[in-house]
Amino acid sequence: MIRLLMLLLSVLSLQLMAETVAVKVSGDFVNLHSGPGRGYPIVQVAIKGEALVLNKRRTDWVQVEFKQQHYWLARADLTQLVTLHQQTFTVSDDRIAQYEQRSLEAGFVFGDFNGSSFYQLSLAYSFSPYLQTELAVGQANGDQADNLSAELSLYLSPMPHWRWSPYFGIGGGVLRTTPRTVLVQTPDRNNSLASAELGVRYYLSRNFIARAGYRRSVIVTDRNDNEEIDTWKLGFSVFF
């Protein structure tokens, strides 16, 4: 059992064999924390000329090896270091450029789907700062029925450089409706869905985007009238 655990641990530790960078302190000193967060205490200080090895990053912290021990260095302090090839680090918190150049985006929204609670997971890919495609799977649980929707949409952002960036989109997909009945067993219904959405994105910070939108969908039914549904949504997404 212990051998199995050791094997598992060694497999997991393979990921630690990533690229490391040997550096020297070029500023006066850098503070080394015990953990990746400002709440963890400073337990070591590396002074000018001392050698460090950079291992990996986690959020805004870099793990370093210093005198055979592991510590965490604030990402902003990378400017105080120089590699053995005399290269300096460029640290920029201005990720709005990255935000504009983002390609993949994963999001989660909560909302209201014709009066019932709604939530949705989405994955989006940007062809350019102006054009984005998104695959979204949503679920709404109402008093009368449960709805599961899957939609592929195309979004247009006319002003991608603005922090508050409006967008417009059209999409289509399927909606599976399961009526919530007690006595009568009714079958599930599958309908086609076509929608138009208007909304706004807001670049929060780092790789975090807030998003709010209104979507109007037409459900193509077998009956004479097509059904129309309003969806209001508010959520977050993370870009890579």
Binding site: Y40, T59, F89
Partner: protein, 204 residues
């Protein structure tokens, strides 16, 4: 008039002197390196087991899988899948009547997402010379509960205590409340389903 000529000559005389001054470029080329050469470990996959108290249906074993992404040192986003199997109600035990739910309807499933905030980062001292990093976080989110042949929206609130065994391996103690409406016992009511689970999580 004379001062006008002076001004014009002054401007004309200074213009060539100003223009090349802006074209001077530093000839020391500073080579730089991106921080992206370093591997980033912002994802966390956790597996935990424990118990859940499904309201009216006793306590049962719970298993859950959690995938988190750390946005920054304070906030993280998680997706979670949890499963349990409900027991029997006191009514079923005492009355000897037919069971309220079939075996498959007793399967309890939750899937959803939440946002967490690391409220209290710190250290835990195991002895005089040895400390481990820890973090207590609180989270809130929502998802879906699939139980008793019904799918309902559930709110999830809770807190998680994380103890870092190494830089990439953490032990987690998670307390979570799954709040949802149920109509199984005649009238609709809001139930609180508390769970406590212990698990391991790996950063990658």
């Amino acid at each position: 008039m004379e001062t006008w000529f002076q001004r014009i000559f002054l401007v004309l005389g200074l213009a060539p002197a100003l223009a090349p001054a802006q074209q001077v470029e530093p000839d020391i080329s500073q080579s730089s390196i991106s921080e992206n050469v370093l591997d980033s470990e912002n994802w966390l996959l956790g597996l935990r087991g424990g118990m859940i108290n499904i309201e009216d249906f006793g306590s049962s074993a719970l298993g859950a899988l959690q995938l988190s992404y750390h946005i920054n040192e304070d906030f993280y986003l998680s997706a979670e899948y949890a499963m349990a199997k409900a027991g029997r109600t006191s009514f079923e035990e005492l009355s000897g009547a037919a069971p309220l739910l079939t075996d498959s309807e007793r399967q309890w499933r939750y899937y959803g997402a939440h946002v967490g905030y690391v409220l209290l980062p710190g250290e835990v001292f195991l002895n005089r010379n040895y400390a481990m990093n820890s973090g207590l976080s609180v989270f809130a989110g929502g998802g879906n509960v699939d139980f008793a042949g019904d799918k309902v929206f559930a709110l999830q609130l809770g807190s998680q205590f994380r103890l870092y065994a190494t830089d990439w391996l953490a032990l987690e103690l998670t307390f979570s409340d799954y709040i949802f409406e149920t109509t199984i016992l005649a009238r609709s009511k809001t139930t609180h389903n508390l769970s406590l689970a212990l698990g391991v999580a790996v950063y990658f």
